[in-house]
Amino acid sequence: MNEPFAPWTDETATPLIRIEQVTKRFGDFTAIDDLSIDIFPREFFALLGPSGCGKTTLMRMLAGFETPSAGRVTIDGQDMGGVAPNRRPVNMMFQSYALFPHLTVWDNVGFGLKREGMAKDKLAACVDEMLKLTQLDALARRKPHQLSGGQRQRVALARSLAKAPKLLLLDEPLGALDKKLRQETQFELMDIQERTGTTFVIVTHDQEEAMTVASRVAVMNHGKLVQVDPPDQIYEQPNSVYVADFIGDVNLIPGRATQVGDMAELAWAEGQGTLLGQPGGGVKADTAASFAIRPEKIAIGREMPEARNRVQGKIIDIGYLGNLSTYHVKLPEGPVMTCEVGNRSRLSRRELTWEDDVWLSWSDTAGLVLPT
């Protein structure tokens, strides 16, 4: 079939958004710190990061509500310096929704189209379609204060989608929806994107959501981008302990990188063998490093395994989650490791119980050695 969608690897591709060395300060607080990124047409770009790391601020600079203290934002080849929000090919869904309280749901959704001067019947058709999409048809005549939180969120989403802009900024668009509706809406968003070719930048606190919808995920911290990569790479090849820890669950074993080549070795405790994994994040030999291994990549058993990466410990806790069980294993000279085992595994595995001495093992390529 056709090639996978990856314009960021293509040097000839022109980005829709160029953010070049942008810094944003509020007083002496730096909310965005010398940040550069290109976002390409038709991308579904997810911003992930802890609260207060500058996600909303970055979005507001794209929408035109904040001006960068330094640096440049270009959208579709046009420098956005001094361009008012209403002159940008951008729509934003606000984190606070900002629905106009004096207008009905219908008028809220039609607001942007009406400003555009769209003909009445076409406008009505557009608005009705948007309302159907977000399952709000029955609420069209209500005012925002008569809606539930999730319904308001859908109105805000419908309103920002209605104008079919080149770039759509969604600040936590699905946070207040229940799981089923959220999944449906995620699917709709992806569908809308397919149909309209709109570029999406979406802020979310939900990693699963970012993983599902995004073409690339950007992990932010303290106003900087820590890593920008497709979801699988973010998960499998985190470039730092921070990202490994932020996305999904991870076991971190602190130690020293002893050798770094195609593979890296980490010495983690006296009298124990080194752990072998892939080097990541530019780790250097003879520096402090951590070994990162995901819980589902660890095998657990009574007998000493053949694998090179093996550690021994004692089970201190078992969690049963239905489809899988998690074992918490205390290493004598190290941290507590979490390992997940699918529950269709062999019978003998289920015999493991509290206080058992067990071996944990994983393959050479399963873990990463990351600088600390």
């Binding site: 008012a84 209403n86 900002a98 942007g112 400003r115 204060h145």
Partner: protein
Amino acid sequence: MTCGCLGRIPQDWCCRHERARGFQPRAFIGRSAVKRAFTVIPYIWLLALFLVPFLIVLKISFSDIAIAIPPYTPTLELSEGWQGVRNFFGGLDFENFVFLTSDDLYWKAYLSSLQIAVVSTLITLAVGLPIAYAMARARDDWRPALLMLVILPFWTSFLIRVYAWMGILSNEGLLNQFLIWSGFITEPLVILNTNVAVYIGIVYTYLPFMILPIYASLERMDPSYVEAAEDLGCSRLSAFWIVTLPLARPGVIAGCFLVFIPAVGEFVIPSLLGGSSTLMIGKVLWEEFFSNRDWPVASAVAIILLLILVIPIILFQRQEVASRETEG
């Protein structure tokens, strides 16, 4: 809902009090009695300070002028028993109201008052809205100071401030001196003792009542509404018209009523700043009371004024209720 705080505190107090004495059943009785007493207080207040004076004025308006103390008749002579009560009610009639229609001074005064009030309300709005908007958009740390400046005039007597305007507006006043000095005019402008001076006085006096409610509604407005409007294609100006102003409507309406209602009955400003041609019902009322000592006609004038104002007051309250509903 009506007895939020007032109701709850004495209830708790009451329960604890009674339980300590071991009278569980009585706690219930005591609680409802205390609660009732607390809810009744506002009604007593309204009754004593609004309804009773109103009834007195109403009664006087149905009476006849008399050279006596008080200067009207009949008065209720309870010592004469039943006959006294009958005489009292028999002496009441609508004469004064009929009289008001016979002299065109009165309806002209009402009309002219309404007109002056409407025009000055509109001017106050035109002046106050931009000021309120600028204040709401000002930097956070400036706002208290700006608010202070708006309220500051209340610290001196209203009467003194109106007298000060006489000094400013008179033919030899500050304004004319300045204009002549700067060469704009050669002859002094006649402002004092005209309707223009009355407008200036009313707008000046009531401006804070316009600014404060509008400011309050603008200030608590989420700035993201305007941002959303701009994001959806509005310019700054159209966002103001389409979003900011409709959302500030409750404040604007409150401000207009707070200016309009007292302006209709205004008496001090027209008598100090207005001329002989300035006709306002407040002035007429004053003259009936104090110059003619015709309390019954004055009361009738006041009753009609009240009826005229009741309509906008009811509209105002409807609006308040509606806006409270939409705010949820």
